[in-house]
């Protein structure tokens, strides 16, 4: 009797599965989205308290909807890079990249704290974004053509213009690239850094042996032990980590030679142009605020007696820029008020008073010889 019950149970399950399959092989993309949504709704009805795993929403407006429904932004970050994204001694996420996650949360929710930080390795990062595990990837990721196309990703705006450099011991006497002929060079694996290193040395006709490691700490500790003559990475990372991870930062120096351009910035998935716009303009908002001298300290005052129509539009006093992005009209106000403009974010994390000081260089406004330039808020 129990056997019979069991078999009927199996039959029931089978028929359900078959039924679920029957509606699937419709080839139109419309249907595809539908089936994906169906698969998600099952766990929701089964256990309403647990949040549904996000099934990589990618149609227009899907990402924003999913983020709003979830009530927080999931932001993929590095997590091991002081000055960019790491957990500070107080236990808070802090850093330049982490602050841009907050910028987005402030724009979407009006609350910069509604971010869930998801530390990712270089290897996990693209898959995590492609599969929708994170909504946006702000993890010092270099913008390249292949990544922009082949991986199904869109790079939004460059938030940090970086370049790849080499760090050596001061007592080694190396001053230029050619000195490193035959050297062993520590590098983190799976990065553009690794590729640029190979390109640069082969172009210059120099020999070298790479020693590749899975994570940052391993890479720098091997270098610190003398496993390698030099370590290579983005200059920002070198200066940030040199001052953090090495036992004797004063004995190391970053060579002048720049191996490559490394534009770093937020990355989103292909397919949701609204989300791309939101991320892009949230970053532009920080540029614009700096350009107009709006800071978190004076934004309230500025809002009260704004006369410049562009600032009025920016702060949501005039026009409907926010709703055009699918956001509230005070989205930019919230960004500046809660996180700050670009200069504030930069100085807080990478400014002269921080242990991870990096001169602004290219990361200044275009008016000051840099590359930061916001399109008009109109």
């Amino acid at each position: 009797m129990t056997r019979l019950v069991r078999i009927f149970g199996l039959l029931l399950v089978l028929s359900l599965v078959l039924a679920a399959c029957a509606q699937q092989p419709t080839p139109t993309p419309q249907k595809v989205v539908e089936t994906v949504v169906v698969t998600v709704e099952v766990p929701v009805t089964a256990a309403p308290s647990t949040p549904a795993p996000t099934p990589a929403p990618s149609g227009f407006g899907e990402t924003l909807k999913a983020v709003q429904a979830r009530g927080k932004l999931v932001c993929g970050v590095n997590g091991q890079l002081p000055g960019f994204s790491y957990i500070d001694p107080q236990g808070n996420w802090s850093g330049f990249d982490a602050d841009f996650c907050r910028v987005l949360a402030a724009a979407i929710f009006g609350d910069a704290t509604k971010v869930e930080f998801r530390p990712l390795t270089t290897q996990e990062r693209f898959t995590a974004l492609q599969t929708g595990e994170v909504d946006v990837l702000i993890r010092n990721t270099t913008w390249t053509l292949v990544r922009d196309t082949d991986l199904g990703l869109n790079f939004t705006v460059t938030t940090f213009y970086d370049g790849q450099g080499l760090m050596v011991r001061k007592d080694s006497g190396f001053t230029k690239l050619a000195d490193l002929n035959g050297a062993t060079i520590c590098v983190q694996k799976g990065t553009t850094t690794e590729l640029n290193l190979a390109d640069t040395f082969s172009t210059a006709g120099l020999q070298y042996t790479p020693a590749t490691f899975e994570d940052i700490n391993q890479t720098y500790s091997a270098y610190a032990e003398g496993r390698c003559d030099a370590v290579t990475s983005d200059k920002s990372q070198l200066s940030s980590v040199a001052k953090g991870a090495l036992p004797d930062p004063e004995n190391h120096v970053i060579l002048d030679a720049t191996l490559s351009k490394e534009p770093l910035g937020p990355v989103v998935r292909h397919g949701d142009d609204q989300w791309l716009d939101i991320v892009r303009w949230a970053v532009f908002a920080t540029f614009f605020a700096e350009e107009k001298g709006i800071t978190s300290a004076n934004v309230d005052q500025g809002k009260a007696n704004a006369t410049d129509p562009e600032i009025k539009r920016f702060l949501g006093l005039e026009g409907d820029l926010g709703p055009k992005l699918g956001l509230s009209n005070d989205w930019a106000y919230n960004i500046v008020k809660q996180v700050g403009n670009y200069a504030e974010i930069y100085d807080r994390n990478l400014g002269p008073n921080t242990p991870t000081y990096i001169p602004r260089g290219l990361n200044s406004l275009y008016t000051q010889g840099g590359l930061l330039y916001s399109p008009p808020f109109r």
Binding site: L14, A20, A198
Partner: protein, 386 residues
């Protein structure tokens, strides 16, 4: 007699049995189909296409340790091959040394000498119970990276120890090498003749001389004479030149850590397998061998071990498989094995599904090959029933 016509189909034991199995298979296939379909749909949605054509693209990255020529302009496919060879290399060397050490420790574990037995027991118990990853990281950052820097390298004899690696002098062939090779072949022939003559002598007189010993001696004599006459090899000593050590044989700290970690860890398991195998041989066998006047080494070599092997080989196979699979922990010490290289390929090409599928099927093939070989060996040494 049971009348099958009277039993309805849904109560027919035979029918239900078959029906249940068919149903199970069906569900399994439908489930798998659903998963695969889901993946394909998701990939399509992302605008990503499956395919292995990327293996022909230029990889663009360098690999620190290669057994075949490779540089940044080689293809992804070749990078895979480099990783595979590195994995095969470390696994094979690991298996050989783990077996040797395992047998010695396993026998020592049963020694009647208290100290030897205690040491063997400590070795087994301590190393078997440390996670391999911890052991590897300890060996890498606690031992090999702590060796002196290259400029203050430590010399033990002609071998150079530094945290850039262990460099040993290595013979390289000279002009005399081809002639030497011919001469060695001649030596082999002479050894065979010696063996045959002595064997015939033994057959005739009934008192076999040390056949193997003498033929080996003849061959060794030829080798020594050949080495002196032709000087076929030139020792190449490692020397520091600029930033590099040139010449000699180089073993990187990454390779050394992974290899020694795998050997130490696996040998502890093998030692226990060997102990169990030896203990599975009835005590009477040992006693009988001893009463026949065999020495304790002879007892072990000719009586106990051949019988123990039958018990040892099946679990030994599984430890060999473990060692091969554990070699993927190379990623923790920066050794470019198959898994580590495929991780890089994945990241540079963005082909997650293909790369992981390829890596998994290669590991699967390696494991199946190993177990195929071990099963063959197991059949060969099986107790022949008469």
């Amino acid at each position: 007699m049971r009348r099958s016509t009277s039993i309805p189909l849904w109560r027919d034991e035979r029918f239900l049995r078959i029906f249940g199995q068919v149903l199970f298979l069906l569900i399994l296939f439908v489930f798998l189909g659903y998963l695969i379909n889901n993946m394909l749909q998701a990939l399509k949605q992302q605008g990503l296409a499956l395919g292995f054509s990327f293996l022909r693209l230029t990889s663009g990255f360098d690999i620190g340790e290669v057994l075949i020529p490779y540089d940044r302009s080689s293809t992804y496919g070749r990078a895979f091959l480099v990783g595979l060879l590195n994995t095969a290399n470390v696994s094979l060397l690991g298996i050989v040394f783990a077996t040797l050490i395992g047998i010695v420790v396993g026998v020592a574990r049963l020694s009647r000498n208290f100290l030897v037995q205690l040491l063997a027991r400590i070795y087994i118990e301590a190393l078997r119970n440390i996670p391999l990853l911890v052991l590897l990281i300890f060996i890498y950052s606690g031992v090999f990276l702590k060796l002196p820097q290259i400029r203050q390298a430590l010399y033990i004899g002609p071998v150079m120890f530094s945290n850039r690696g262990v460099f040993a002098p290595w013979p390289i062939p000279t002009d005399g090498y081809p002639a030497f090779r011919l001469f060695l072949l001649l030596g082999l022939l002479a050894a065979a003749v010696t063996w045959f003559v002595l064997w015939r002598h033994g057959q005739r007189t009934g008192r076999p001389p040390l056949t193997w010993f003498w033929s080996l001696l003849v061959w060794l004599a030829f080798t020594v004479i050949g080495l002196v006459v032709f000087s076929p090899f030139e020792m190449e000593y490692p020397r520091l030149e600029g930033l590099r050590v040139l010449g000699g044989k180089r073993l990187t700290p990454e390779f050394m850590s992974l290899w020694s970690g795998l050997v130490i860890y696996t040998s502890a398991f093998i030692a226990d397998v060997v102990r169990a195998g030896i203990q599975a041989v009835p005590k009477g066998q040992t006693e009988a061998a001893r009463s026949l006047g065999l020495s304790s080494f002879q007892t072990l070599r000719f009586v106990v071990f051949p019988q123990a092997l039958r018990v040892i080989v099946p679990p030994l196979t599984s430890h060999y498989l473990n060692l091969t699979k554990n070699s993927s922990l190379a990623v923790a010490v920066g050794f470019p094995d198959l898994f580590s290289v495929s991780g890089t390929i994945l990241n540079q090409s963005g082909r997650a599904v293909e790369v992981i599928a390829l890596a998994m099927s290669i590991y699967l093939s390696l494991s199946l090959l190993t177990s195929l070989f071990m099963n063959w060996y197991n059949r060969r040494i099986r107790f022949v029933e008469r």
